[in-house]
């Protein structure tokens, strides 16, 4: 491990410890808790999508079932509160073993379809067994039981540090997993299953193990959610939750370990802070996702990493003018689009306002295209120079 990596881990740890002291208001604290839970969930999802190349549409099954088992065990009053996430994790692991055995018999689109089917099946069976799944109202519990070493876990700050501790454990474990032979073979199975099979590994077995393990971490996230919200409803295993974790992970960037972390932070901020300003936040998030798919498949982390590589190679000063010049028409277009969305939401019916907005958007778009034709050479040259510096 290089010194800069070590420093990054240390800074992350420090931020986790200090964050609640800086953002001590109730809202900010619950925001941090929400973020931590989603980070674990999204990282577990990326074990499949990014590391093994498996697109799953039903990952919420493990999260939701983990949360349900956690709340039922919590209500038994037998397991100390700090170990409840472990219960969720074990439930996630158990269902990961069962469903993983079914789903990983095929890869690619068939895998995606089976996960969709399993996800819908589990979500629909919540109607069949309302006693276990909680029905419409959900199941509530109480996290503050007998004090555990003097901690009751009643106050939010104690729950925050519990979530932070589990977060660190899970992140370290998942990062360590990428360094194990299994993690490496998962990458090989993603890139070329035939060759992986040729060197003596069974791709189906590798996929199965990855699904089961990722089910464990998703279950831990579910258990953490149980402690944080003290209520579990059938929504936690719905297709909506599966979709959200997919969107968050992809926007963050599937090709990097830190990608899902960034994605989880961004989506939490959008769903809470941005949602305070506009009801249209899912629309903006959907646009962000589509633009990621179309223009930057590496996600937000990919963009950041590219800038860092340009900086290291001393090329950032060459591309900075391109950014500045492109920013002007880009901002006009984006600003126009935001105004249009907000007007649609607020039901503005003035033809003049709409015409003006669309005109601004068109001008921004045309100017951006015209400018890009002149600037793209400089950009391409910088990227070429970067590739040239990296090669020797």
């Amino acid at each position: 491990m290089t010194r800069s990596r070590l420093a990054l881990w240390a800074v992350t740890l420090l931020v986790l410890v200090v964050a609640p002291l800086v953002f001590s208001k109730g809202f900010a604290l619950s925001l941090l808790c929400q973020m931590g839970i989603l980070v674990v969930f999204a990282l577990s999802y990326n074990m499949l999508l990014g590391q093994t190349g498996l697109l799953s549409f039903g990952h919420a099954v493990y999260y939701g079932l983990g949360a349900l088992f956690a709340i039922h065990v919590l209500n038994l009053n037998k397991v100390p509160t700090p170990f409840i996430p472990l219960v969720g994790g074990l439930a996630g692991l158990a269902f990961g073993l069962v469903f993983g055995y079914i789903t990983t018999r095929r890869a690619g689109t068939t895998f995606a379809m089976i996960t969709l089917g399993v996800g819908e099946m589990v979500a629909a069976s919540s109607l069949m067994f309302p006693a276990f799944f909680g029905g419409e109202a959900g199941i509530s519990g109480n996290r503050s039981q007998e004090p555990f070493f003097g901690l009751t876990f009643g106050p939010q700050i104690q729950v925050y540090y519990l979530i932070a501790a589990w977060l660190v454990i899970c992140v370290v474990a998942m990062h360590a997993l990428t360094r194990t032979p299994l993690g490496r073979m998962a990458n090989a199975v993603r890139d070329n299953p035939e060759r992986a099979q040729f060197v003596g590994y069974d791709p189906q077995r590798v996929r199965f193990l990855m699904v089961a393990l990722s089910g464990f971490f998703a279950g831990v996230a579910g258990g953490l959610a149980t402690l944080n919200y003290e209520i579990v409803s059938a929504e936690s295993l719905s297709a909506l939750t599966s979709g959200m974790v997919l969107l968050a992970t992809f926007v963050g960037g599937v090709g990097f370990f830190a990608g899902p972390i960034l994605g989880a932070i961004v989506i939490t901020l959008m769903s809470t802070v941005l949602a305070g300003y506009t009801k249209a936040w899912p629309f903006y998030f959907g646009l962000l996702f589509l633009s990621t798919v179309l223009f930057v498949p590496g996600g937000l982390t990919g963009v950041v990493v590219l800038q860092k590589r340009l900086w290291d190679a001393g090329l950032l000063s060459r591309v900075a003018p391109v950014y500045v010049r492109m920013a002007v028409p880009g901002l006009v277009f984006v600003g126009g689009a935001v105004v249009a969305v907000e007007m649609a939401y607020r039901g503005v019916r003035l033809p003049g306002a709409w015409l003006g907005t669309f005109a601004a958007m068109a001008v921004g778009l045309l100017a951006a295209r015209w400018l890009w034709r002149r600037e793209s050479d400089r950009w391409a040259a910088a990227l070429e120079a970067l590739a040239g510096k990296a090669a020797p």
Partner: protein, 298 residues
């Protein structure tokens, strides 16, 4: 007996509606090799467009105009979105349609709000058509059946009897060869996508007022359409037809049956109705990924 016939007729109507959706989906899949996650969203757009257009010019013009408008939007999305995503592989394409479904639902939220809109059956089609064992059969259901069957016949004629249809069929199996012969295959893709999406919109126009026109309607029907396409066999229109009717009838009957399940004394058959299609789909994918009549695996 009465229950049997009403359930059967309702099941067939629902199945035919499912077929209008699944035929377009399966055509798009067999041509471009990508499952269009947003297909049911275009069904929803069709219902909302039908509602808006019929409030200005009446129901019958809307029956034609709404699918055309949605089809045009679909063609534009194919041209400027899908084609770009296609360049970065199947995964990107699948994710693109997934994001599109999410976005369309949000657009509907923004423009029409979260509650259902009052999209009603036109007065000329309202009311009972005939009475069967003291249960009445509504005229509108017969109309729905007529439209779906007419569409099926038109689709069949288009695919087997016209030049465009033959080109589409040729491009299904050998796109490179068709392109080498001087035909514009990307434009054909655009046409098929627009057409398939237009069919879904037509289903939306006639289904939206029979059921409810609300933002959740895409999600409600979307996964069922996937079940139909997977069970019927990806790429097979006949398979989609058989599976649509089978799933439609199965779901209607399961809801109507009130027997208790063995071993689970508190669960009735009607409660299993939402689970059944997905169970069939998962079993089908494991045992026979080609589906009932598919020619290749997913």
């Amino acid at each position: 007996m009465e229950l049997f016939f009403t359930s059967l007729l309702n099941g067939v109507t629902y199945g035919l509606l499912l077929f209008m959706l699944s035929s377009g989906l399966t055509l798009i899949f067999s041509m471009m090799g990508v499952l269009n996650f947003a297909h049911a969203s275009f069904y929803m757009l069709g219902a909302y467009f039908g509602y808006v257009i019929s409030s200005y010019v009446g129901f019958y013009p809307a029956l034609l105009l709404a699918p055309l408008a949605v089809g045009a939007i679909g063609a534009l999305i194919e041209r400027y979105g899908m084609r770009r995503a296609h360049a970065s592989g199947h995964l990107a394409e699948l994710l693109f349609t997934f994001g599109l479904a999410f976005l369309i639902e949000e657009v509907v939220h923004l423009v029409w709000g979260k509650s259902p809109v009052p999209y009603r059956v036109p007065p000329s089609l309202d009311g009972p058509l005939f009475t069967l064992f003291s249960a009445t059969f509504p005229t509108y259901k017969a109309f729905m059946m007529a439209v779906s069957v007419g569409m099926l016949a038109a689709l069949y004629a288009l695919l087997t009897r016209t030049r465009v249809g033959l080109l589409v069929q040729a491009a299904l199996s050998k796109p490179d060869m068709v392109e080498a012969l001087g035909h514009n295959v990307p434009r054909l893709f655009m046409l098929v996508f627009g057409g398939g999406v237009g069919l879904a919109a037509l289903a939306g126009v006639i289904g939206g007022n029979a059921f409810v026109t609300e933002p959740g309607m895409a999600a409600a029907v979307g996964s069922i359409v996937f079940v139909v396409v997977v069970v019927g066999g990806l790429g097979s229109i006949t398979g989609a037809f058989v599976a649509s009717l089978a799933i439609g009838i199965l779901q209607t009957f399961a809801v109507a049956v009130d027997y208790k399940l063995p071993f689970f004394d508190r669960v009735t058959v009607s409660q299993t109705a939402p689970v059944l299609p997905y169970l069939i789909m998962v079993l089908m994918l494991i045992a026979r990924p080609r589906g009932l009549m598919g020619t290749r695996e997913t």
